[in-house]
């Protein structure tokens, strides 16, 4: 007997009694017809699903959806207007005029669009000009706080306020005003917690909090915040934020001298960079993992990672990172017993970092160089290396406590009292000096036994 027609199959799907007994008998025995009926049933299942029918009735969309649509249109309009209103203040050279104009107090600037754009600029500006970034973020905060709670639907005003406070915290962090940064970050977190659910802002603020704790030597708090940031970012598929959080976590572990765990984290980062094809993350992960393996004395792995990082940073034309990798390779060479080549590399790094105006890094390289010269029995060269870097700091106008620390170390080298403990103490101080410019240098109280 031939297969059921499409019409017969369709009628059978509606009611089996609508087709003949012979058709029903055939259907029970025929795989092809049963398969065709199963496909038809799949289509019918979709017709029974309420989702299929949404929006098909002539009625207008629900008021809540209409409200969201209006919100989308309004945000776009606000953003467009903000670009026009703020076009004269984009560059740091406009900082004085921006402050003089006090835009936050002028009604035409009191829109979410202006606050968002100020946040965006503050974010991109915080490394280049943290003071201007702070002024931008403060203005954004002031505007966001002025807007009534009900001005945006579904509590999203707290998102804007959290964002502005987060940028304020970030700028304060870059200025080294860590207690104020911490306060702003906590306020930002409180705003984000008022949202109906956890979103990207909370992931970011955990990261900022982690950085602040890290810079204040609060490694436990930094670790916890880094975990929270990573978890929150992972839940929202925010890869970049996840990697940033993991990178912070790696540095926390490194500072705890848990080099094996830190290497594990950095290797995970570089593998994720590989899977997403992000060369910058592969390079960063390789450099950091290589540094860990130098500390662990696993020099073969260190060599492989550091040379891979060097190759990648060169391919990215990232000059400063190339020099930083050369610096790590210099330390590796020393660990491999090749002190002359290590000294040669570090001297070159000193010159290059000075040329890049990476003065703090130059100071740190000088400390490493002093350590290697000392170990290589070339102690007499150390005071000159440190004197040069002190001059570099002075010429750059970097009259911070780091300068005092380096000058102290130079004197210790002159007097033959420089010890590994003192070197480590000064290195740690110089590392933090940029972020905490108000911190005063005091010599270590005593040598460890």
């Amino acid at each position: 007997m031939s297969h059921l027609t499409e019409r017969a199959l369709g009628l059978h799907a509606i009611d089996p009694n609508l087709v003949s007994a012979a058709d029903r008998t055939h259907l029970a025995a025929c795989d092809d017809c049963r398969r065709a009926l199963a496909e038809l049933r799949l289509f019918e299942d979709a017709l029974r699903d309420p989702e299929t029918w949404i929006g098909l009735s002539p009625a207008a969309p629900s008021p809540r959806t209409a409200e969201l649509r209006a919100f989308a249109v309004r945000l776009a309009a606000e953003d467009e207007e903000a670009v026009v209103l703020l076009e004269d203040f984009r560059e740091p050279s406009a900082a004085a005029r921006f402050m003089w104009d006090d835009v936050a107090s002028r009604p035409e600037y009191q829109t979410g669009g202006v606050a968002r754009l100020l946040c965006q600029w503050a974010h991109t500006m915080c490394e280049r000009d943290p003071l201007y970034a702070l002024k931008l973020a403060e203005a954004a905060t002031s505007i966001a706080m002025t807007l009534p709670d009900a001005s945006y639907p579904r509590n999203t005003i707290h998102d804007l306020r959290g964002e502005a406070l987060k940028e304020q915290a970030n700028a304060l962090r870059f200025l080294g005003r860590l207690p104020e940064a911490l306060r702003a970050a906590e306020l930002a977190e409180a705003e984000y917690r008022r949202l109906p659910h956890e979103n990207l802002g909370l992931a970011s603020i955990h990261y900022v909090l982690g950085c602040i704790h890290y810079e204040q030597d609060g490694l436990d708090a930094a670790e916890q915040a880094a975990h929270e940031a990573a978890d929150a970012a992972l839940r929202l598929g925010a890869d970049e934020q996840y990697l940033n959080a993991q990178y912070l976590l790696g540095h926390v572990l490194f500072d705890r001298h848990d080099y094996a765990a830190a290497a594990g984290i950095f290797e995970t980062i570089l593998r994720q960079g590989q899977s997403s094809g992000t060369t910058a993350w592969i390079a960063r992960g390789s450099l950091a993992a290589g540094g860990c393996y130098v500390e662990l004395g696993k020099l073969v792995q260190a060599d492989r990672y550091l040379h891979e990082a060097l190759r990648l940073f060169i391919s990215l034309d990232a000059g400063l990172d190339v020099t930083r990798t050369q610096w790590a390779i210099g330390r590796l060479l020393f660990a491999q017993g090749n002190a002359p080549e290590a000294i040669h590399r570090l001297r070159r790094c000193l010159t290059e970092l000075t040329a890049y105006h990476a003065i703090t890094d130059a100071g740190l390289v000088a400390i490493d160089l002093a350590e290697i010269l000392n170990a290589a029995g070339r102690m007499r060269q150390v005071p000159q290396v440190l004197a040069n870097v002190v001059t570099t700091f002075m010429n750059a106008g970097k009259l911070t406590s780091a300068l005092t620390a380096l000058a102290y170390l130079k004197e210790a080298a002159n007097q033959g009292t420089m010890t590994p403990h003192l070197l480590a103490y000064v290195r740690r101080f110089v590392e933090r000096a940029d972020r905490e410019p108000d911190r005063l240098f005091a010599p270590p109280l005593s040598e460890p036994l």
Partner: protein, 193 residues
Amino acid sequence: MTALATDRLIHAGRVAAGHRTADNREDAGARFDALYASYAPLLRKIAMRKFGIPAGDVDDLVQDVFASYLANQAAVRDLHPYLIGAICNASRQYRRKGDASPFSPRPEHRECGATPGDELIDGVIRNLVIRTTLARLGESCRDTLERFYLLGETTAAIAERRRKTANYICRLLNYCRNRARSIYAGMHSGAPT
């Protein structure tokens, strides 16, 4: 997988929203319509199936997720996992608040990866395309299918309302559904017809 799923959903959503990409790129409202049409069904399904959120409360969570996305557009680099992660967060939050509520928790469904399975996405895309198909049917056909499949009315009840015989309604139903399948097959080659 994620980018592919996003493309497929957005494409299906644009078709469902009748949105022409090239003509309306600058139109934030049209972009929102397409996005909402693409993702709202998927987000509802995740909230209901994975977290057991009651149907009456699901829309509220979905609206929160879209509002949150709109407020964070600049920071969202990967839309698909963001929206899915956000509905999971919103659903978890709902369940945390509702711990004292009468419905029983379903802890086995609380875990929520950023990427739902292909089966779920395929189902959502099929619904979106069928929705577009139904929009192209005549009013009488659509009404008949809606009453029978969505509202669960019997052929006899529909016949009585239309003053026709039940047998006629069965044949009409068969014709309308076959017509819909034929349009669907033309729009969605490769999908089950």
